[in-house]
Point group: D2
Chain length 211, copies 4
């Protein structure tokens, strides 16, 4: 990963060709120093050369509807049109509901009613793509998502913000941890830490609002 990014960075500023640079790239510390200098100047195109893929499961359709709005990523998501639910569908309970026993029971009961309705439609010959109209945002989904490091930084900056919904925040946090690249960590933070100020309309107060 480092060697590719380093080669890309050096290609812009060097008389050597990329193969020569790649062949001579050996000192990780020197590589990191250049990469950091280039990225911190905002030349993010150099890290587009690395794409990473994540397998995501047990997230709500509410969460994936937010995720797929990022247009610089590639998605292969489980289809509710083609994959018919057998028995009770899996679902996600939001913490504000899960932590209250009475609310949680109400939520679970509603999920069961919906599942029963779904199954009745299927048994009446309604195709899965139409029966799914009753399935809730809570229904769990899974997908493969790929994005380059520039987009990952962009997503982290937006979705690690405390104003993002808890589920996509958590998913983004887990993605960044799964990547496990020390040198990228200073960039995989909420946008306010990059900007030095908060630009949200309703700030959480963590960082001062731009005056």
């Amino acid at each position: 990963m480092l060697k590719t990014v380093y080669t890309a960075c050096r290609t812009c500023y060097s008389a050597q060709n990329p193969e020569q640079i790649y062949a001579g790239a050996e000192d990780p510390e020197k590589m990191l120093k250049l990469i950091d200098r280039v990225i911190s100047s905002g030349h993010y195109s150099t890290i587009e050369h690395i794409q990473v893929s994540f397998a995501v499961s047990n997230v709500s359709r509410a969460c994936t509807h937010q995720l797929v709005r990022h247009r610089h990523a590639s998605f292969s998501q489980k289809s509710q049109r083609y994959v018919q639910e057998k028995g009770q569908f899996d679902y996600i309970i939001p913490p504000t509901i899960a932590r209250d026993e009475a609310l949680k029971e109400k939520f679970t009961a509603l999920m069961e009613q919906i599942s029963q309705g779904y199954q009745e439609f299927i048994q009446s010959g309604v195709p899965a793509e139409d029966a799914r109209f009753v399935l809730p945002n809570a229904a769990s989904s899974s997908l493969v998502v790929s994005m380059n490091l520039r987009e990952l930084i962009h997503i982290a900056n937006l979705r690690l913000c405390t104003r993002a919904q808890y589920e996509i925040r958590l998913m983004t946090k887990l993605m960044c941890e799964a990547l496990d690249e020390k040198w990228l960590e200073p960039y995989l933070v909420p946008k306010c830490e990059r900007l030095g100020f908060c630009d949200e309309d309703k700030s959480c107060g963590r960082v001062k609002v731009k005056s």
Copy 2:
């Protein structure tokens, strides 16, 4: 619209500069002839210079989840996080359910149960962004979507296919009709009509499958 596209087409092949071409563009027939020749050669970038915006209402979240997967378009969609449903939420009933009175009643009853559940969560202090976890794919949404003509052709080619779901097919058809540009009509058709063959895994049989 025509003058801009014509100017873009001619700029590529002419010694004149774009202002001169634009100023001299007067004969619609001549313009259309060049445009048609350029587009039918696959040089779609020339029609990217025209972007159109549509106001879309009364479509299901199932439909918008498909639409927003088109990454060359811009979307501003009604947020279920920020807009709380007051009373029964609006919803879309798929035709395979709506045409059977018993199924339709079952569907309507389920929507009412879900609405009641949603309102109870709201009244218990659950924020709208979490209460919406129970809202179904059928819940209606509205959005402003903008795309250039190249993307509109791409969407039409895919979504007018009989294999697309009825709702997005209808929405796409209405978009194309709202545009009402005669010269674009030969392009705003299912992909099989452009290709001369059907490439779908399960063909509707309208056009012969590629052997």
Copy 3:
């Protein structure tokens, strides 16, 4: 322009559908207030609904090679493959050369030699697409470029920086002036004015470097 952006902004947060919002949008001051609040929170997708087109002439190929690197814009550029130069090709003289009479003469003489070479290749039957191999970066070009307001802001932030080359800086400045939208002016500035600090490796000193 304002009404479309306002409708997009309001659609996200309103129970009204976009047509209703558009129909009721009448007070420019109120519209601007909302738009400014939305954009300054970083929700730039709302201004993607407006796309603008520019006719650009008398710029060097050096400049257009930089411009076409912006991947969220659409370009129709005069082709050196298909448009053969008749007589001396037009060219741009950089100010650092133009302001010195001796250098300017040397530059002009070289352009004439190149032109003569080009014409000799053409007369020997070499196709224009190969004869153009001798044409310099200084050769002037023209193009139609379209981009949405989000991309225009992005380009302005990067290309109005004093570290950008003079020609693309000037071209960007002229584009912003041609747009002539007062409400956008606070955004059509070098990136340092948006960030509050300079992130360039070699700063011009105008704004303090991030420590």
Copy 4:
């Protein structure tokens, strides 16, 4: 590569989650069969999960100006602003010129004159970014380019066409060969072989024109 694409394909149509699919993916023949079925139906998004990077050297700036117009790829190109040419710059001679001794000599002489001019400007204190205005399209460049497999297929379809310029055709051919993935070869062909007809305005006659 195969396992990732297979997992993406199966995730859309399977009740299993991506980790389970990936863990169970063992039979290359079975994987290829599914992948081929999915891609030949036009569902190219599944192969976006694989990105490949190429180190490209000894290509003309004429060629790279065409290449960088592909907006779904990432580029890090040797900069003529920051990398100053020491001595004679490298250049590419088009075959239509190289095969004629007299034309070749004329070409070489002109490159030497341009190089001399460039060096004189540098010695007069003109910055490299301005001296480069005299450098020709023939000047050789190098870059790192990355793209996903969908974009590689798109580029191959366009740039392997006999109407593309010889240099970018050759470069594209070498890229496809370097990839060396047998299963992709049926897709890495000129567009006419995919379409079954030629859509170019001036056809080479290899495949029949669409009537």
